[in-house]
């Protein structure tokens, strides 16, 4: 089953339904599929939570995943884990499921479209000032742009934009390149070798989901903690 042709660079170009101004393309449909699996799966599992000695195997899975993400977030943020955990955990789970479902024939990862990854990166772009301002106030957050001296202001602004672009293009490039490589390998060396590459693709998908979530957390942490670290240093110098 071939959903996306080899010369189509993004699943946005696969239009399933056109109705006036509304266009339903493959990216949208598969994003809804992933969202549905996440939402209804979590609802089904958390409906029968137990605190007893025996827990169901699905609850066990969810507990492992949630506590794993929590500990990773705690390692970077050190405090306020509950504040950052919903955003970072959602990033990780959504991207992970998007990438892992690629072993199902006919499925095209929504993350192999630049629109999905750009949307996720824009969320990070706005989440960083949101958490920064809510943590240390508007004035202190804006002062961060003029550290160490005011000449650095344009570089800070440029850095904000370039890292958003990097976040989007990194995820898109990795997943899209993998799909194209498998498509090309199917023509050159069919049957066995593409299967090995598919297995490698699962690893790449996992690592990319991890990296996206960790980088988002690092950016947020740098906006909320930079001032504290600077204050710490000056206090040390004084002492």
């Amino acid at each position: 089953m071939e959903i996306i042709r080899i010369d189509q660079i993004s699943p946005d170009l696969v239009i399933l339904l056109q109705w006036g101004y509304i266009t339903i393309n493959a990216t949208l449909v598969y994003t809804w599929l992933v969202m549905g699996i996440l939402v209804f799966g979590s609802m089904l599992i958390t409906r029968t939570l137990s605190t007893g000695i025996t827990v169901s195997r699905w609850q066990n899975l969810l507990e492992v995943v949630v506590s794993g993400i929590r500990s990773e977030v705690r390692d970077i943020a050190h405090e306020d884990v509950d504040k950052y955990f919903p955003l970072i955990g959602t990033f990780f789970l959504f991207i992970l499921l998007c990438n892992l479902l690629t072993f199902i024939p006919g499925y095209v990862a929504p993350t192999s479209s630049l629109t999905t990854t750009a949307a996720l990166a824009v969320i990070v772009f706005f989440a960083v000032p949101y958490y920064g301002i809510s943590k240390q106030g508007l004035g202190e957050y804006l002062k961060e742009y003029f550290r160490p001296i005011f000449i650095f202001f344009p570089f800070h602004v440029m850095g904000e934009f370039s890292r958003t672009l990097a976040l989007a293009v990194r995820l898109f490039g990795n997943i899209m390149s993998h799909e194209k490589i498998i498509g090309i390998l199917l023509v050159v060396t069919p049957l066995f070798f593409p299967v090995v590459m598919q297995a490698l693709g699962l690893l790449i998908g996992l690592i990319q989901a991890y990296i996206f979530a960790i980088l988002a957390m690092v950016y947020i942490a740098s906006a909320t903690q930079a001032h504290e670290a600077a204050e710490h240093k000056t206090a040390e110098k004084k002492a």
């Binding site: 990773e72 990097a166 293009v169 990194r170 990296i211 960790i214």
Partner: protein, 92 residues
């Protein structure tokens, strides 16, 4: 040689060079990064978790340069913006 084949040839050659040279630098850089991380882990195995996390974040940063090159060469081969112009010229 008409302008269409010049555009096709130039974009294919440029895509090849872009990928080849663009993979060279990040390859060397990632090698050095992994070397440094392995060295550090061998010296201090207790700090393995934070070293591995920093390594992955750093590798992702280095790798994104190679990914830019890849995206550029994919655009040159599959979604070349100059094709539309050339085809319109040839047609009209």
């Amino acid at each position: 040689m008409d302008s269409m084949s010049i555009v096709a040839m130039a974009s294919i050659i440029a895509a090849g060079f872009c990928m080849g040279i663009g993979a060279l630098g990040p390859g060397l850089g990632q090698g050095r990064a992994v070397q440094g991380a392995l060295h550090s882990i061998a010296q201090q195995p207790d700090e393995r978790n934070s070293l591995t996390r920093t390594l992955f974040v750093g590798l992702a940063m280095i790798e994104s340069i190679a990914i830019y090159c890849f995206v550029i060469s994919m655009i040159l081969v599959f979604a070349n913006p100059f094709w539309g112009y050339v085809i319109k010229k040839a047609g009209g």
